[in-house]
Amino acid sequence: MKAKINIKLLLATSGLLMLMSSCEAIKPYQKTYLNEEEMQLSMRKPETFEVNFESYREGGSGANGGKVGGGCGCN
């Protein structure tokens, strides 16, 4: 089981490293697509409400700019 997780982790890390190493140097004038509203890496503002209720109704949370602990009684 542990070996299986390690293999998955190794594959995921390798994939990410390959992705990062294939980065192109993009000039500001070449960022037309990247500057589109839909391409922003941050969460949409109304999505924060959903992230909040998911953090109450599920054990896992975080790594998405949302609530990870503290701040409310959370019924």
Partner: protein, 402 residues
């Protein structure tokens, strides 16, 4: 009562907008200041299920929550920004009403949570560094929370990479409420405080003209009272319930990957994956895909789908299955072995020159109604809990005088 809070919310937004206007009119300001942004958000959430922890893992989980929120971002000068986030939760809960089921409608059947967060950021363009600090307060009937945080962001020289580091501390105080039948049996918990320490790091990277990703991770340490004192737990050996008991500390370690791909003029793909692990034995994975489709230059719809699965916390067992010799116990299904699906649709309309212009009282310049966004989602959890949420974001822009 709710009208009073709503008026307070609007007054807060208008006052902050007025501050933005006054700053903008300052004759000492020679450089162009960005407009102030105001976002008025609201959501309506409703859920139902049959595994309430208040009644030991059985019973209604019916809950509704209405959350008006206002976010104001005011440039104080060309490098400093003030951000104010003020909101409320008006919720009614059939589940918490069962803390004392002998009253027709107890104080716990509904409550209001008020929260405000104020942040200040300074953007040093020359060094490509943004520093920010923030403080916040949150108050509801049985819970008060203070928070303070700071962050640092550094961009690369070519603008294709960015590293953000942030820390946040929550200092919470909890009013202890036991289930009605256990109130004369002494104290079940030793602390009424909770502290949470969150550290987060995010690395964003442009891969090519159409693809960018971000890797995020949080390290969270919580200590103090982490159980909920009005949650009942029932045992194999006795009929009477006990109060939920959970360890006094918890480490959380989530790791997330966000990937956005511009497939064409009409189609974008936004993917999010998260792996989560904590010291209570919960391990979870989340996958979310959103595919915005442009129906016009300023109008888009975006269907989205999310899948989540988790293993149970070491301390969870259903109603009547715990043993009295266990040190920690809970029948809260939020900590059980579960999976969930969420599917929904969003609509966004954001014309280049805004939707309309109007004049706000106190604010001299005409205010631009910039954009409108509406999204709705249905949520299903494998234990039968289901929820629906609809939320909206109205975006406004108040131009500066100079």
């Amino acid at each position: 009562m709710q009208l009073k809070y709503a008026l307070l919310l609007i007054a807060c937004g208008m006052a902050t907008a007025a501050v933005a206007q006054e700053k903008a009119k300052d004759p000492k300001q020679f450089q162009q200041i960005s407009p102030a942004d105001v976002n008025i958000l609201a959501s309506y959430y409703t859920q139902d299920g049959n595994h309430s922890p208040v009644t030991g893992g059985i019973g209604t989980e019916q809950l509704t929550d209405v959350t008006p929120t206002i976010i104001v971002n005011v440039p104080l000068d060309t490098v400093t920004n003030l951000n104010v986030n003020f909101g409320m939760d008006f919720y009614s809960s059939a589940s918490t009403d069962n803390i004392d089921p002998f009253t027709v409608s107890s104080a716990s059947s509904s409550d209001t949570r008020t929260h405000i967060n104020i942040g200040l950021s300074r953007n040093k363009n020359l060094h490509r560094v943004i520093r920010n600090i923030n403080i916040g307060v949150s108050k509801e009937y049985d819970y008060t929370s203070f928070s303070v945080g700071a962050g640092w962001t550094k961009g690369s020289r070519d603008g294709n990479r960015e590293l953000s580091l942030a820390g946040q501390v929550f200092l919470d105080a909890i009013k202890i409420i036991y289930p009605i039948e256990l109130r004369d049996q002494g104290n079940f918990v030793s602390s009424y405080k909770r502290q949470s320490y969150n550290f987060s790091g995010t690395l964003s990277q442009v891969i090519n003209r159409r693809l960018q990703i971000s890797l995020s991770s949080d390290i969270v340490y919580q200590t103090g009272l982490l159980s909920t004192t009005f949650h009942r737990v029932y045992f194999q050996e006795q009929e009477a319930p006990e109060v939920e008991q959970l360890p006094a500390s918890r480490f959380k370690f989530p790791f997330g990957l966000r990937l956005n791909y511009y497939a064409g003029d009409y189609f974008t793909a936004r993917l999010f994956y998260r792996f989560y692990n904590d010291s209570w034995g919960i391990s979870s994975q989340t996958v979310e895909l959103e595919t915005p489709v442009k129906l016009g230059p300023f109008f888009s719809i975006y269907p989205f789908y999310r899948y989540y699965s988790q293993t149970a916390a070491d301390y969870f067992a259903p109603y009547g299955e715990h043993r009295l010799d266990e040190e920690y116990y809970t029948s809260d299904y939020d900590l059980s072995d579960l999976s969930s699906h969420k599917a929904g649709l969003g609509v966004r309309y954001s014309p280049l020159f805004g939707i309309s212009k109007f004049n706000l009282p106190l604010a001299g310049n005409s205010t631009l109604f910039k954009s409108i966004e509406l999204r709705a989602a249905q949520y299903w959890r494998s234990d039968g809990l289901h929820a629906f949420i609809i939320s909206t974001d109205l975006g406004f822009s108040i131009p500066s005088g100079q």
